[in-house]
Symmetry: C3
């Protein structure tokens, strides 16, 4: 507990932990105040995500390179996974798919663009390891393409039979998870040296003892799950109040909320002129969503969902994911960055956000 | 006047100025001879564009780097802008959109490809600054993507409400112009050195005194506007005579005519083994169309057009713009060129031209 | 004959020649046993393709660089061409188009990916000449784009008139062949040095005398044509038995069978840490399909086909070809490779294969 208090004192984001009890209180007292519950649950998830991230890193730091890397890689997107699982159990597949697509786009456009902008405002031009960046951008591109195959082929041929989409998604989920496993062997074992810098630097804060970290990991995961429940229940009604489409909520809000902790690390890396770190977090996290979170959700939909979920995204999401990964590949290929590259990358993100916000509900 | 005469003596393209009075005469005498008027107006716009370009550069050379760069960047596509404004006032939105899309494709495929080919016929292989080229290709890609968001998302979701497209285009136009302004700060102020070579070399001819240049700028802009009026009025009927679709006219003819002066500079740079200059003109001009000309036309459509114009392009144009910018990114990424790269780039352009020419009118 | 016997002794793939007489025997005895005939004809084509490849190289080795290169470039995909011609004569245009698309995708994803994987399992990281690879990837991208223009523009505009597609395809075929001819001038004459390494190494086995090679070339081509006839006749019925769609057969089976010989060379190059060779074969062969085989088939459809064949591919094939060439461009841009890059490239190929296998017949 003293570790927690120490952290809270030094990290203003953790002050938001105050909202965790508030959200449960509010739900008990006013179960119908959806807008309030939505805002409170968003405010409560952000610090919990930061705690999860710190706890994961603390365990990872203690257990040595291989197991630690595995933990970091598997639990790095735990917040996104728990939120998506809650939505999955509630049968809100549109929200689940939007949050998968949104997490990829947010990582490749918002996180990368804001890192370039924040870093570029402080440093004239920044260099980063282009060999590593190209490799990661290439992996991300391939992962995204594999994820999009059912949508691309089915949509292109105007209207798939639902059975086909489910069968294909199931097969694909297995393939993606195999590729993810091989990717862990690659990045943690056979070619560890290519990814070294990114992992070493991620632990910005002092690590906790293992017992504290493990207890925090377990406890906070439960809290995230409970808050996510409030979030998923209230989001639909609240979105209506704010005039947001479900696509906008999943794509923008969930992705920003779930990724808040990683963003803090990526931005601080960029300010310290360690763009390798920022690029590694942004591209690595996006790859993990495509190769691990998405297929796990498909497989779990057979167990905990009301019906099987396919990987068949709506066409706008396909376009946005492809553009996001192509943009990431293009802006990282030169190994150099300046603030305006960040501005333009963010602008593409803003145009997506604007389109989703304005999209009439009929078009989804 | 003596400067003008001196230039005319040394630049055969200016001999076409002869057609400027001819086109007005012809319109007064034979207002219904659309095919004749169309041909004459095309012949008259080419030398006027060259004069505009020279006058802009002369003013720019005298006013110092920052203001001069601003002028060059803003007035570099003045001819395209004036033609498009005339079409906008006449409510010919198809022609306006086709000329925006065509200018981007012509700059990235025709101007770049012909520069590579012409340079490559004289020099075995040519090298150019790949860092600058990659940066510019990256900016162009992001600018094009932002421009295409309404089309991509709306079309992908099969049929947008017109209101949505207009709202989104308006918001996007504001975003694009903000990005354009920030881009000027970037290229003229904070990171001037990255763009230095391209600007320095653009003034191939000897500059005029400022007074002459300003007077020419004003006078020639008026002339371009007047000739454009004839052009826009006659183009529809003339196109029918030649068996051309409106898409072909806007995409190919307007873009080639409007960009003639820049092409002359780019090609002469390539022959002199200064491909940096050619690549800079081609990519810079295409970016400017996407970030400045297109949004200005959207905003002005609220003032001078019969109804608001959206940035909703027809699908073929979207595909062609994306392929154009992707091609530009790919062929400039290595920083080396040889004649066959130019041949293939031109071939892609030719296939687009051929498709547009053959496209049955029903498909637009 | 003794050369042939010597080769057979040293190359286990040639033991499959045993199936050549077997397939003719089987067809004479059991003309209705489609599944058997299909399997036998596949087994018979593989060694014939290897012989064709060796004979072409032997002639090429004797006739000097320019003519030899021309031969290699023209006859390198002779097997694919003969199979496609047989399908063309039978009016099976779906099979022809699927085999064109499949050959491009198989070369860029399967051949490249498997080379990276096989090479990477033996060597920690492999380097290859990135200048040459980028040039070839750029050429391939432009060739593929040109090939796809009719599909992209026509499909994007929802349903073309058939006449338009045929007219455009004819014009395009002429353009592509002109580009192919210019490409030969480029790679064999003006810029020979850029492609040198790939050609020099292709002759892995000892060359035959010219007379033997020419006789083999003629004889084996006839045999391939005869076996192809059996293959094309039996493939439809056999596919039904195996539950395969015609798209799957053309895209996957024909492409793998036709490219078996080239794959053997590419893989052996990768194992010997000569990735330049593997990348050259994979990208060069894919370019040749787009620039030479496809347009030749369109032109010949006017002579030997029941009706003109257009280059209008079904949308799924367009997506797959574009992704294949983009992937090839991305994974070769860094000039370095490791086994996991191969895994992910193969995974994209597997997802395509899986989709085509599962695709309900109604969606084609």
């Amino acid at each position: 507990m003293k570790y927690l208090l120490h952290d809270i004192r030094h990290n203003p984001m953790l002050w938001l932990l105050f909202f965790v009890p508030v959200v449960f209180l509010a739900e008990a007292l006013k179960p119908g105040a959806y807008t309030l519950l939505f805002v409170l649950s968003v405010l409560a998830i952000v610090p919990l995500a930061a705690l999860l991230s710190h706890a994961t890193e603390s365990v990872a730091a203690k257990t040595g390179d291989a197991v630690g890397g595995l933990l970091n890689a598997t639990l790095g997107n735990l917040t996104e996974l728990v939120i998506a699982l809650t939505a999955l159990r509630a049968g809100q597949y549109m929200l689940v798919k939007a949050s998968i697509a949104g997490a990829i786009v947010t990582n490749t456009l918002f996180m990368l663009g804001a890192s370039f902008l924040l870093g570029g405002l402080k440093h004239h031009t920044q260099e980063f390891n282009k060999v590593g960046a190209r490799l990661q951008a290439g992996l991300l591109f391939l992962a995204t393409v594999a994820l999009l195959v059912p949508s691309a082929i089915a949509k292109a041929d105007s209207g798939p039979a639902a059975a086909f989409a489910n069968e294909l998604s199931l097969g694909l989920a297995v393939l993606l998870i195999v590729a993810y496993g091989l990717g862990l062997v690659f990045s943690l074992k056979t070619h560890r040296e290519l990814f070294a810098s990114a992992e070493a630097g991620e632990a910005g804060e002092s690590p906790w003892p293992v017992a504290v970290a493990l207890a925090t990991l377990a406890g906070v995961t439960v809290l995230v799950a409970l808050v996510s429940e409030v979030f998923v229940e209230s989001v639909q009604e609240a979105a209506k109040t704010f005039g947001m489409t479900p696509a906008f909520v999943g794509f923008i809000i969930v992705a920003l909320v779930g990724g808040a902790a990683e963003m803090a690390s990526a931005f601080s890396g960029a300010r310290k002129n360690r763009l390798d770190l920022s690029v590694g977090i942004a591209l690595g996290s996006a790859s993990q969503i495509a190769l691990f979170v998405a297929p796990v959700l498909v497989l779990l939909s057979y167990v905990i969902g009301p019906s099987p979920m396919s990987l068949d995204f709506w066409p706008g999401a396909v376009v946005m994911m492809l553009i996001g990964t192509l943009t990431a590949a293009l802006v990282t290929t030169s190994g150099r960055s300046a603030w305006f590259v960040g501005v333009l990358t963010l602008m593409v993100y803003l145009t997506f956000a604007m389109s989703l916000y304005l999209l009439p509900p009929g078009l989804r």
